[in-house]
């Protein structure tokens, strides 16, 4: 039985040694060389790190970033990746939560790293990549590793204004990768086209499916997503067979008319997740690529990437609403009512997940962990944790799960999960913003901030851009004399929604 992703890498490195594992359109790396680099990085770190501790990584969209992740794992540690394009204030928040002793950066991001509030030691990746390998030291480093050891900590929006670090174990990740790999029938002939930032949960498929199966991943340069014909050219140049993209990423080429020029000739599988797929865009993909297998996925980071899937078995219309389908192997779904009773079949309840795929919790935050991962109220006999997703769902007459939105004010925008209250607490930090309310116009995909005070929309946007990731910055700012209120004094969101243009 495999206890860690290192077992996978050891096998594929031997079996597919000369085959390419990652390619970033300017460089590529074979399985053997990739494995060698992870061992060099691991040897370097293992001589001084405390096993089972976090190491922060800030590295670009290139082939060495996954090698850095796995190098940290070889040293018996787990990685906490950060996206260097995020504002400094956001990166400092993550550093404040993870409190790591070491950070690995590539040369390109060294200056950014030096400018952060990081007290630990900064290690430059390029300086350690040729460390002579010490197999004995590496064996010792992982001697305390078990399948429930953390593999990574990935950060997501938190309603209090501080990002939450979701900790995932080797076992959870391996369960998910096994499950999604078998649904998509991934083998060594597949080539993935990576869209997700490498520090984001959605990238785990592009990183670990090759390490598991001997497939390859092309890390597509970010600016190609703004230029869709160039993007399709790249997919064809590298004969990409499989895309696991955010819904927002799948929409882009369809929105910008890329199929009028060319199409991805080698594509066989397209799997999407992150938000509800508007079928008018999926229809365009289906019209041009009818032979492709389309898979809708659903799930929160807390349950390791995706819980359920639905293989689209018919041609969709503009108004088709895709089910989120059935649970992946090793995922159990329970629907619960507000009073913790089981939801009657066909009725809507909160989607709750259990199984070996549950995250280990939020890093350094036991209170929030206990609040979110709770004993299954239906099980009085033994310990069984569930994660209450906050998402609503019901079963349809075919026994497939359907998604009905959120219980709270969390939204999905451009494939990212956002707590609207986090935007509000950020806006309130600005002098000249007295009160505010953030709302989402789902139909037009516009993020709004209604506010009172003297700040101009330019002041607010510039401040937001300095502290929040771009996808969290409201594009529509509306200054009001007063926010409308309900008789109980709460903000009247329905009236505000009528101001959507």
């Amino acid at each position: 039985m495999d206890t860690s992703v290192l077992n996978w890498l050891d096998r594929t490195a031997e079996q597919y040694s000369e085959k390419t594992v990652f390619n970033d359109c300017s460089r590529s790396v074979s399985f053997a060389e990739f494995n060698r680099i992870t061992k060099s990085v691991g040897t370097y770190l293992a001589s001084f790190v405390t096993p089972n501790s976090p190491v922060v990584v800030m590295s670009g969209r290139h082939i060495m970033t996954p090698a850095c992740f796995l190098g940290i794992v070889r040293a018996g540690c787990f990685y906490a990746p950060m996206d260097a394009t995020m504002p400094k204030a956001r990166l400092n928040q993550i550093i404040g939560v993870i409190k790591a002793d070491y950070m690995i950066v590539d040369k390109e991001h060294l200056e950014i790293a030096k400018g952060l509030d990081f007290d630990g030691k900064i290690i430059i990746f390029e300086d350690i990549v040729d460390t002579p390998i010490d197999e004995k030291l590496l064996d010792k480093a992982v001697s305390g590793l078990n399948e429930l050891s953390p593999l990574y900590v990935i950060f997501t929006s938190g309603s209090t204004g501080v990002p939450k670090g979701v900790i995932t174990s080797h076992h959870s990740l391996m369960c998910y990768i096994e499950a999604v790999g078998s649904v998509l029938k991934i083998d060594s002939s597949d080539v993935f086209g990576n869209q997700s930032p490498l520090d984001y949960i959605a990238a785990v498929r592009d990183i670990y499916l090759p390490i598991k199966t001997g497939a390859s991943t092309v890390i597509i340069p970010k600016n190609e997503f703004a230029m869709p014909t160039q993007l399709f050219d790249t997919l064809n140049k590298y004969k990409v067979t499989t895309l696991c993209w955010s819904v927002a990423g799948v929409e882009l080429p369809a929105k910008l008319g890329a199929f009028d020029e060319l199409k991805p000739e080698y594509l066989k599988k397209l799997c999407f997740s992150g938000s509800v797929m508007p079928c008018k865009y999926l229809k365009i993909w289906q019209q041009h690529l009818p032979g492709v297998m389309y898979v809708n996925q659903y799930g929160p980071t807390e349950a390791t990437a995706s819980c359920t899937y639905y293989v689209v078995d018919k041609t969709v219309d503009d108004d088709t609403v895709l089910p989120i389908g059935v649970p992946y192997n090793n995922y159990t779904i329970t629907l619960l009512n507000e009073d913790n009773t089981p939801t009657e079949y066909g009725k809507t309840g909160e989607i709750c997940v259990s199984g070996p795929i549950l995250a280990l919790g939020y890093y350094g935050n036991p209170e929030k962990t206990e609040e979110s991962f709770v004993q299954n109220p239906l099980n009085k006999n033994y310990r069984e944790l569930i994660y209450k997703t906050g998402d609503l769902g019901s079963y349809n007459s075919d026994g497939l799960l359907e998604f009905h939105g959120r219980k709270d004010r969390q939204i999905k925008h451009m494939g990212h999960r956002i707590e609207l209250s986090e935007i509000e607490s950020t806006a309130k930090q600005i002098d000249g913003v007295t009160d505010c309310c953030s709302l989402y116009n789902k139909a037009k995909e516009h993020l709004y901030l209604f506010y009172t005070g003297t700040a101009t929309s330019k002041d607010i946007t510039i401040y937001f851009r300095s502290v929040l990731p771009g996808f969290m910055v409201p594009r529509k700012l509306v200054q009001l004399d007063a926010l409308p209120t309900l008789p109980n004094g709460k903000i009247d969101m329905q009236t505000l929604k009528s101001y959507f243009k």
């Binding site: 394009t85 970010k222 600016n223 997503f225 703004a226 230029m227 869709p228 014909t229 160039q230 927002a248 990423g249 882009l252 929105k255 910008l256 008319g257 890329a258 009028d260 020029e261 451009m414 929309s457 330019k458 946007t461 510039i462 851009r465 771009g470 996808f471 594009r475």
Partner: protein, 75 residues
Amino acid sequence: MDELMEILNELRPDVDFENETALITDGILDSFDIVALVGELNDAFDIEIKPNNLVPDNFNSAKAMMALIEKLQDE
């Protein structure tokens, strides 16, 4: 040009559109900015930006965008 600058400044008030010349190449504008921008330019200038117009050279600077708009208006 004023109308274009107004659209750009409203889209991304944090970017110096007067002087930037590598908006796409340096990743200053991302794919979501481009989707929003293409829609606005099509409406404001009564043009139709085609996928093969979406190359970095046409969007790297405000000047380049203006040249593309003028070219499409002439067609």
